[in-house]
């Protein structure tokens, strides 16, 4: 980023916390930006699992209620003097229920920078979907549902792996959302039903993915009702995924705002840099 926050160059890598030991983070970054022309002490703003206990450096959680980012960042050791690495801490909550986030706080800060007057609820769908109540620039409380990770585990590591074609059917999804909201206790039976149907009427496999996804999202919406009911809601994330959540919410009479997750992350990192270097 330039001094004005504009993007000068970008690069991405699939290498992350899951596959890197502590001393492999700097080499992974160095490899990724080898052809960039860096000046001495270039500020490197990092967020997400890079700050977890297994990350480059552990950046201790900040406890809500608080602003999503602050000037409290953790310096990560780097051998290259051109890298001045700062890792943003995640957020934690003890009550009403223990919860944590890492990375989403940066997207929340980015959303707030783009929508400074927004008071309401943010939903960040993903492996660990976050429902976040924000007010007056602070994160008040949040609730995580590991809907995406449950979907992935059931689709890949149970008998359902035989039943999950790639097709997506929007009507089936919405029907399943409604079913999952009203009968969430039936998930384990409905899930096996997809397998049984696949055996008895092989063509049904084409709708299994939309059905399983809808059942899980429906249960999540039922559990998160106190978050979205009667509230302004914004969805932040990958376009396809937020579109599915938006459809499900619209069926409940909610009209969410949609924001791209990447843009929110970038705006959040920019906001965090401003906290460190207010002159920028």
């Amino acid at each position: 980023m330039g001094a004005d926050g504009g993007v000068l160059a970008e690069a991405t890598s699939p290498k992350g916390m899951g596959g890197l030991a502590r001393d492999e983070f700097e080499p992974a970054l160095a490899e990724l930006i080898a052809d960039w022309d860096l000046r001495e002490s270039t500020l490197v703003m990092a967020c997400g699992m890079v700050g977890s206990r297994q990350g480059w450096v552990e950046a201790a959680y900040r406890q809500v209620p608080c602003t999503p980012v602050s000037d409290n960042v953790t310096r990560a050791a780097a051998t290259d003097p051109r890298l001045d690495v700062r890792v943003l801490p995640g957020l934690s909550q003890l009550s009403p229920a223990p919860d944590v986030m890492r990375g989403e706080e940066t997207q929340i800060a980015g959303f707030q920078a783009m929508n400074p007057d927004f008071d309401g609820v943010l939903c960040l769908p993903g492996s660990h979907t976050k429902w976040v109540q924000v007010s007056a620039g602070e994160v008040v409380s949040f609730q995580t549902a590991m809907t995406g990770e449950i979907f992935a585990a059931l689709g890949a590591h149970t008998v359902l792996r035989h039943s999950m074609a790639d097709d997506w059917d929007a009507a089936t999804f919405l029907e399943a959302v409604s079913d999952g909201m009203s009968r969430p206790e039936a998930l384990a039976a409905r899930a096996f039903g997809l397998r049984a149907e696949g055996l008895l009427t092989p063509d049904s496999a084409r709708s299994a993915r939309s059905r399983l996804s809808g059942l899980l999202v429906g249960a999540e919406l039922a559990a998160a009702r106190p978050y979205w009911l009667g509230m302004p809601v914004a969805l932040i994330g990958a376009p396809k995924l937020t579109a599915h959540y938006a459809e499900a919410l619209r069926a409940q009479g909610v009209s969410p705002i949609l924001t791209q997750g990447d843009a929110a992350t970038l705006a959040g990192l920019r906001a965090a840099r401003k906290k460190l270097e207010p002159s920028l």
Copy 2:
């Protein structure tokens, strides 16, 4: 087994449908019983996934309502003339919801042989727990919940793998059963709560396994309420697992009978043999 149904010898192997190609079943059996003294055309009664599409031979489902076993068995090809292999078909159901079972029908037949006058509900807990309504010797309807497989997938293939100590706490389990019954929609949030708690208060990992199991069993009990409410209930399966289900059911005022799964399987194979050779 002798002519009277008594056990003459037994052997077990971990090799099953998941790891064997069609032409590897006979060698696996031959290896297992190599030192048995078999006569020509020894009847080999087989049930379970050995009769699935990927098994030794496909034994087509019989549709409920019907008796759990019949003289309808499928012969599997064997090169050894001493082996006369018969595979029991599973059961299928089209309504009220598509469902299938393989192997459990044999345990049901075994239970009925031991308890000929039982009318009520059988619960066979496992990877795919079966709730089965039996009446006048027939399986009337059934419902599968893939509770066990969901538990295994979440414990091994999600972030919860970091939080699952081996400890078991009966009080925590029962508390979670009650929570899962009354708030099944919160599963994805409660599950992530176990992870968050593990990060924020590391000692809590010791109860995570009992908690996750209870949440899933609780949701299953809520979904299966029409099966067990006000009905005589018998549990068939591995002693530890049936004991957990029994505790959960007792908290709901149900006093189930407990039957060992292995004994039921053996009695069921014996009952199936009687259908083939009524003179025995």
